[in-house]
């Protein structure tokens, strides 16, 4: 594909990710951390995030399904999840995590379950978009060197 076009697409998508609130400042920090020593830093971090998130989501599911619900543990897991999602700048996901934790501290099981659905949804959306985006970034980079 035409390199300029690719780059343009990358730029557009990136902008929309930020404008629509999927990504936030920390993501920019990640991009800035990427350098010659770590040319795929962003991708590496994001991949790590996916792996870790999968684990945490599973834990939360499990905790939500157990009876009685251990809200402390739930809060703990969600705290972790919130921490890592905020580290990569996953803004919407992080916000949903905050909502969840509020329900959690109120020991509102119903609220927790509902908001967790939101968390998972936002996470899925972000992941999809990021995958597309990073793939494009990778392509543009390759096309540049080509």
């Amino acid at each position: 594909m035409n390199r300029n076009r690719l780059q343009h697409q990358v730029a557009c998508m990136r902008k929309s990710l930020f404008d629509q609130g999927y990504l936030d400042e920390p993501f920019i920090q990640l991009e800035e951390l990427q350098d010659d020593a770590n040319p795929n830093f962003v991708q590496e971090i994001v991949t790590l995030f996916y792996t870790d998130s999968a684990r945490l989501i599973q834990n939360i599911e499990h905790a939500l399904n157990s009876r009685p619900i251990d809200f402390n543990k739930l809060d703990d897991y969600m705290h972790q999840f919130k921490g890592s999602s905020s580290s990569i700048g996953a803004k919407k996901v992080t916000n949903e995590c905050t909502v969840f934790r509020e329900y959690c501290s109120a020991e509102n099981a119903e609220g927790c379950i509902r908001s967790f659905q939101q968390v998972k949804q936002e996470y899925a959306i972000l992941r999809r978009k990021l995958e597309v985006y990073l793939q494009m970034v990778g392509q543009a980079a390759v096309s540049q060197t080509a």
Binding site: Q29, L30, D35, F49, D52, H79, Q80, G83, S84, I88
Partner: protein
Amino acid sequence: MKFSCGRGAMSITSSSAAWKPTDVVADQFPAGLRVLVVDDDPTCLMILEKMLRTCLYEVTKCNRAETALSILRENKNGFDIVISDVHMPDMDGFKLLEHIGLEMDLPVIMMSADDGKHVVMKGVTHGACDYLIKPVRIEALKNIWQHVVRKRKNEWKDFEQSGSVEEGDRQPKQSEDADYSSSANEGNWRGSKKRKDDEEETDERDDTSTLKKPRVVWSVELHQQFVAAVNQLGIDKAVPKKILELMNVPGLTRENVASHLQKYRLYLRRLSGVSQHQSNLNPPFISPQDSTFGPLSSLNGLDLQALAATGQLPTQSFARLQAAGLGRPTAKSSIPMTLVDQRNIFSFENPKLRFGEGQQQQQHMNNKQQINLLNGIPTNMEPRQLASLQHGGQSIGNMNMQVASHGAQNNQNNSLLMQMGQPQSRGQILGDTTVSHSPRRPSSMGQPILSNGMAANVASRNGIPETIGATSYNPVSQATSTLNFPMNHASELPGNSFPLGSTPGISSFSSKGTFQEDVSSEIKGSGGFMPSYVKFNDLSQHKPQNWELQNVGMTFNFPQHSSSLQSNLMQSVLVQQGSSGQMNGHNRSSAVVSRAMFSAGDIKEHGNAQNVNQHLNNLVDNIIRVKSEGVFDTSPGNLFPVHFGQEDLMGALLKQQDSIAPTENEFDFDGYSKDNIPV
């Protein structure tokens, strides 16, 4: 040796002789700071690691608290600072914080996505030196080195406060205000004076050996026994007599136990937050009265007991820390752990600095000296002045401490002192320490600490970049001299990191000069604190310094007002520094001159401009050991004329009303007595 770490290692390349503090600081320090980051979140951990590397720190990461602890235990002096997450599965972050504080006494930064007030407060009460909210920005990490410096400085201050007792000459109980300044200075000065000729870097100075009076050394073991006894009895029921019986330590008196118990109680109280306000909240460094508490904030939350238990603490340091933690309200540590404590503190510091054990003795001596220096600080110092001094001198104080503690290497000491760079009114102490040890051991000089390798050494050892905030970047080229006073990285020291215009610096500056010569010998054990310290050593090594004696007189003009005078002095001092000085002799001269300048300034204050001039001339003619320390601020931190306000400097100068008179004598370090320092 060059400091070269694996990643992000910054080799301490030499700064050119015309090294500018800002340059160096910006370029070098805090590169190489050894950070241990602990977080169970792999994403965060990786991001943090990358960020820290980008800051040119040397990073070690681990995802479990237990792992972190064992890493730290195995590598006592391998790290400068720890960053830890609060929520971790295997151990609560605060618990880890306590452990680290107790065992290694490293500054610990907590981080969490949780920004709730009570969590942050918990961090404070447990002794965290900072609390970062996730997601952490790289900007927040860039400044973490300040905690390392601050901690060292605080420890130094504690040391001073508690120390300086050995010297029999110690002035009688100074007012609380002056606590560390006066007593410490005094003690230091005297100590240094006496020591100067006596001590060699290899002095086997035992904790008590150099002490004039017998004192109980609350070693880690002893304290452990004490705590065990107290716990057995119950803190409420623990009375000295019973504790003494339980401890069953021959030679220990009820009085010893009683005073120790008092401190211990204070310490516990502090831990529980009762006295928080005293120690932690006092701004800058606590008002003089509280100075003892100030630096202890880091001690809060530390379980000295545990610390002692771990045996990590060098004998005395524990006691000292505890004493510090106990917040001796009075400047003088009534505790018997004066020098001893000091030493311990230093020793304690040592591990951190990775200084050789051999330095203990030196430290001991240094500590004393430093303390003496502090003692010398005019007691009249206004509390605020003192506070500001302390404040400014934080780093310097630390350095001094460091320097002192690492008696082993003069160089190291020097560098430490120099490195501290922080503007401290107490720079004097440094000067004193260095000055007092006239015999500089070439061997120690040779320590890589300074510039050429020293800095690197120190850096590598401590992982701290050459200058702790000071310009002390050691020019690699020189093994010694470039007086890289780390002093204040922020300020521009002409060539030497000597901040211009920072009043306190003057004294320290001059001290620096002296340092060069004597530093190595005097500052024992400070060794490895920082590369910057090394610089100091270098200086003493008489490497071409940036000083030039001839410059000394150049800027010396007696302004009509004190502030001008001060600035002149500073200028002079700075100039000295800036010029490539031939160290040995020059250092002295410079120091002398600097001192003369100060004295002159003082004289001037008193309206004896003429005398001042003469004085100065005399000084120049009599290049003797520089007694830089004494000039006015004996605070250890004063070595570097760091941002010390002119008023403070003036205050200090004024304090030494009579100091000017015997200028010549003053220059002789040994002879430097408190005369100059109004007590």
